[in-house]
């Protein structure tokens, strides 16, 4: 049987299901007479919970990381909250109810308030309120938290997991998580990602599945119950591949991208949004070599505002904490379309109105993005990259607009920082005049996908041309070599951010040409590192 859910973290797990059933805290409503004593009981149980949460914060900080530990800090703040405490005290005082019942009711009330909110983040906080209330009730009743009992590693199935349950589980015994509830914003989801545990949510798990064989495919977001031998065999092969990759990760993480003769090449990540940065860091990226800003524009019906863009760029800069983040300005056009741009239909979109051409003809769009970028540059190492350059005059026009944008920010007293500015070399024209361009910009990044398409006159979107598309064509390699040489003569660096950058059969060739940086999809980083370390 196959169940489809929502994927939270990729990866494959094969094993028995262990159904994590919580001991329902049956809270009995009781009438009490000694109100002062009851309030003291509550106070003690709450203080112990706060104390335990501080410890949990410290352990999580060491074992997993500070960002994931913060939830427990928030939990203790919630328990110190006046509204929460007053609600409990009022019930004891005015309704003469026992502490357990007062806490449970208070927790439920707050959880309901959060659950009724519209925003996903706030909705997800209802679990936190329940979690803290259960913790206090356990202290009141003396019951222990549910634990996972199993000798062998299992796929953990549950209705939902609270953050503290997730952290306190024995990670060595968990192959994967599958839950009925939860959201991609829940802390369980965040922790699954940090701990590299495959996870799928929104699957109707049943207690009767306990002990059954299953396969969890986090890449597809499915759970296969009682798999047939053929499926299991297929997944065993996939799992072996995944384990090999993880071994590689372990072996190569933290190592330098250094050739045998001691030359170091930067290996950066190509990302399409802020969430991808987690994957980049996990794979040990030295920086972001290509941050595609298109996602801000695609799949929506109006232009992203300056502050929306600023928030995203700032976040990216902060996540990379001082490491380079090369952000490519708007590259809409050709195969990437946005209705609200109202662009004309073109017979030949790849050779049409796209990328920097749109920015220069419609500078109001460009200015908004530039303002956001220079403002965000104050928060980290942002570098700005302009796509689809073919001439010196384009550089001069960009210069002019950048100058005006900075003057405007200055005049308005808006904080910003200068950032290095570079260009994509993705047209034969740019490669051929790279000697001149190199004197005007701070870096080059070679976009091999478009460079191949324009050099070989082969439409990337047309699969019928695959046989003609020789990505290693000497003409392309010549253009790359020429670009790198010209950049070094002008004292600037060159990276490769197209698909060829991850082609390890060319790594040695690129190193010989003198390339300074290779920017690849996050899962390819360590493969490229390995190739570099094997070069002379």
């Amino acid at each position: 049987m196959e169940c489809k859910g929502k994927k939270i973290f990729e990866g494959i797990a094969i094993g028995k299901i262990s159904y994590f059933s919580k001991k329902e805290q049956t809270v009995v409503r009781k009438h009490i007479t000694d109100k002062a004593a009851e309030k003291e009981r509550y106070g003690k149980a709450r203080d112990k919970a706060i104390h335990d949460l501080h410890e949990l914060y410290e352990t999580t900080k060491i074992e997993i990381g500070e960002a994931d530990a913060e939830i427990f800090d928030v939990h203790s703040m919630m328990l110190e909250d006046d509204d929460y405490n007053n609600s409990v005290y009022n019930m004891i005082d005015q309704q003469e109810l026992n502490a357990e019942y007062a806490v449970a009711t208070t927790g439920d009330n707050f959880a309901e308030t959060f659950a009724a909110m519209e925003d996903e983040y706030f909705k997800a906080r209802s679990v936190d309120v329940k979690d803290i209330s259960e913790r206090v009730i356990r202290n009141l009743t003396g019951e222990k938290a549910a634990v996972l009992c199993s000798d062998e590693p299992v796929i953990l199935a549950a209705d939902d997991l609270t953050p503290s349950e997730t952290v306190q589980l024995d990670k060595n015994k968990i192959l994967a998580f599958v839950t009925r509830k939860g959201s991609s914003n829940s802390h369980t989801a965040i922790l699954a990602r940090t701990m590299n545990i495959p996870a799928v949510i929104n699957i109707d798990v049943e207690e009767s599945w306990d002990g059954k064989m299953a396969i969890l495919d986090g890449d597809k977001g499915i759970l296969i119950l009682d798999p047939d031998p053929e499926t299991e065999e297929k997944y065993k092969i996939l799992l072996a591949g995944q384990q090999q990759k993880r071994e590689l990760l372990k072996e190569l993480r933290g190592k330098a991208n250094e050739t045998k003769s001691g030359r170091t090449i930067d290996v950066f990540a190509n990302v399409g949004n802020v969430t991808d940065i987690a994957g980049a860091l996990q794979n040990d990226a030295g920086g972001i070599g290509l941050f595609r800003s298109e996602f801000l524009y695609l799949e929506r019906d109006k232009f992203p505002t300056e502050s929306e863009q600023f928030a995203v760029y700032k976040k990216a800069a902060e996540l990379m904490a001082g490491k380079k983040v090369v952000i490519r300005t708007l590259d809409i056009g050709a195969d990437k379309k946005c209705d609200y741009f109202h662009l004309d239909q073109e017979d030949n979109p790849a050779l049409g109105f796209r990328a920097i051409r749109i920015c220069l003809k419609r500078p109001e769009i460009f200015r908004t993005q530039l303002r956001a970028l220079f403002r965000a540059a104050a928060y980290g190492n942002i570098q700005i990259m302009y796509p689809m350059i073919t001439s010196m005059s384009e550089i001069r026009q960009i210069r002019e607009i950048v100058k005006e944008v900075k003057e405007e920010l200055q005049a308005q007293g808006v904080p910003y920082k200068d950032a290095p500015e570079g260009i994509m070399i993705e047209t034969p024209a740019a490669a051929l005049i790279s000697d001149q361009l190199a004197k005007e910009v701070d870096f080059f990044s070679i976009g091999t996908n478009d460079l191949t398409q324009y050099t070989l006159a082969i439409d990337r979107q047309n699969p019928a041309l695959d046989d003609f598309c020789d990505t290693h064509h000497p003409a392309i390699l010549k253009l790359i070599e020429m670009t790198i040489k010209n950049s070094h003569e002008a004292g600037i660096w060159t990276g490769i951010c197209g698909e060829l950058g991850a082609d390890t059969s060319l790594t040695e060739t690129f190193i010989k040409m003198g390339v300074d940086e290779l920017s690849v999809a996050p899962p390819a980083i360590l493969k490229v590192r390995k190739a570099i370390r094997e070069c002379d």
Binding site: M78, E80, Y121, S307
Partner: protein, 85 residues
């Protein structure tokens, strides 16, 4: 009485951690500090109440400070909010 408006710039909005820090910070003042947004109102000294405002990024929150240290409290709160929220 002191009153000012503040626009939330944090990406997720007035979420748990900053709300908790704000509550902690607000507690050092004697004044009553009230936050209002979208028809809802909460004490700035209570984390759950602040979160209950569901103030997302871009929300303009109105803050009213009333009490013997209202001048200082309003000034310091403004500073705190622009640094953390």
């Amino acid at each position: 009485m002191q009153n000012f408006e503040y626009k939330i710039t944090d990406e997720i909005g007035l979420h748990a951690r900053p709300a908790g820090l704000l509550a902690k910070f607000a507690k050092q003042f004697h004044s009553d500090i009230k936050m209002e947004y979208n028809g809802k109102s909460a004490s700035a000294k209570a984390l759950m109440g602040i979160m209950g405002l569901e103030a997302l990024r871009g929300a303009v929150v109105s803050v009213t400070v009333e009490g013997d240290d209202e001048l200082e409290a309003a000034k310091k709160l403004k500073e705190f909010m622009s640094e953390n929220l």
